[in-house]
Symmetry: C2
Subunit: 222 residues, 2 copies
């Protein structure tokens, strides 16, 4: 179990989030990657029950988000960049071959810049119309953007196990985006994508990361 | 002028987009990077006046987007990943020092996963409510997400010239996102950010890239 408060690598996580967000906070991506390569990490919890961000966290992370990675003298934020950093340390996350590495980084950006913005826009359409008579219309109008991207992803995945010929950080990022899609039928509509998400989240490293994130929330209930 | 149809590197671009999108299509990011390092590239135009994507393009780019880069045997999509690839070839785009490189990649992801999704959600809120009586409300409700991120970015930039101590692909990606913000006052509200965008877009490489993108549209008016 890589959580070890004496470890050289530090990952920040929120001390508290609403119950529905637990298991989905983005330090999951980094915990998962670290579990894949068995690299121990310590956790620094930031924020409080009010959701306020600690000033010392904002100094590290200008958007007040998690995760932040500390690795020696390096302080790094953005989950995608942290995945690339960890990938450079271990070929189990990112192939050493330059072309294969580039393609895996390509899928990492695809997850975070082509797919997630659409699922996030759908989530925001719902949030920003809460309680309004036009909510159903606003959400229905935004849904096709997420549907289209996810359909395109299902088409390119086809019957393959992973997006390239082996598991990489590109799959890790993509699956983390897909499992958080605000309307589960977006993914469930594509049997191959649903199986892809199931296959990835069944990995022992994902399961260990999930248990670790939930354990941190359980031990900080307020 | 790096456009050279005999060059080894190929960049795809759309043959046609509506006039308001010209100068903002995402092959700009790659043309700009290539101009920064004086690396010649050829252009492959895809799609047609109807906006339809050519099947051979979808085979390269599952989301039907541009750009795609061809460099030797490598076919790579996602503008962020292409920037990282080009950065690995030339330190003028991405420092060789591992920590500096990681930080620059961090800003690249910040541009594309923390800032652009919010400006894009605002744009989508406008598109998806076109002609609806609730459009103004929907747009106003979405705007604070973009405002918040851009304000946080202005705070972290402060009086510095670039996001780190020199220009990198992180600045290139961030400026390309900011200049496309759907409501220009989002950036103009912060004098330092407006100056940052002006400083970056005044670079000869940006100007050359813009001229090249516009020239391709001018020579393919239909």
């Amino acid at each position: 179990m890589p959580v070890d408060q004496a470890a050289a690598i530090e990952v920040t996580a929120y001390r508290w989030v609403p119950p529905m967000a637990r298991g989905f906070v983005k330090d999951m991506r980094i915990r998962w990657a670290l579990e894949e390569i068995g690299l121990p990490y310590r956790v620094r919890l930031v924020g409080g029950a009010g959701g306020e961000k600690a000033p010392e966290h904002l100094a590290d992370q200008p958007f007040g988000q998690v995760p932040v990675l500390r690795d020696g003298d390096l302080t790094l934020f953005e989950s995608g960049a942290i995945l690339v950093h960890l990938g450079a340390r271990d070929e189990r996350l990112l192939p050493g071959d330059p072309a294969q590495r580039d393609r895996a980084i390509g899928w990492t950006f695809a997850a975070l810049n082509s797919v997630e913005p659409m699922t996030q826009a759908l989530l925001l359409a719902r949030h920003t119309s809460e309680g309004q008579p036009w909510q159903a219309e606003a959400v229905a109008a935004m849904r096709p953007y997420a549907e289209k991207r996810i359909g395109q992803l299902a088409a390119v995945l086809g019957n393959r196990e992973w997006l390239e010929d082996r598991f990489t950080i590109g799959d890790l990022a993509m699956v983390d985006v897909l499992r958080a899609a605000p309307e589960p039928d977006l993914v469930a509509a594509h049997a191959n994508l649903a199986a892809y998400v199931a296959r990835a989240t069944a990995r022992p490293a994902f399961q260990a990361a999930m248990a670790a994130q939930l354990a941190d929330f359980d031990s900080n209930p307020a």
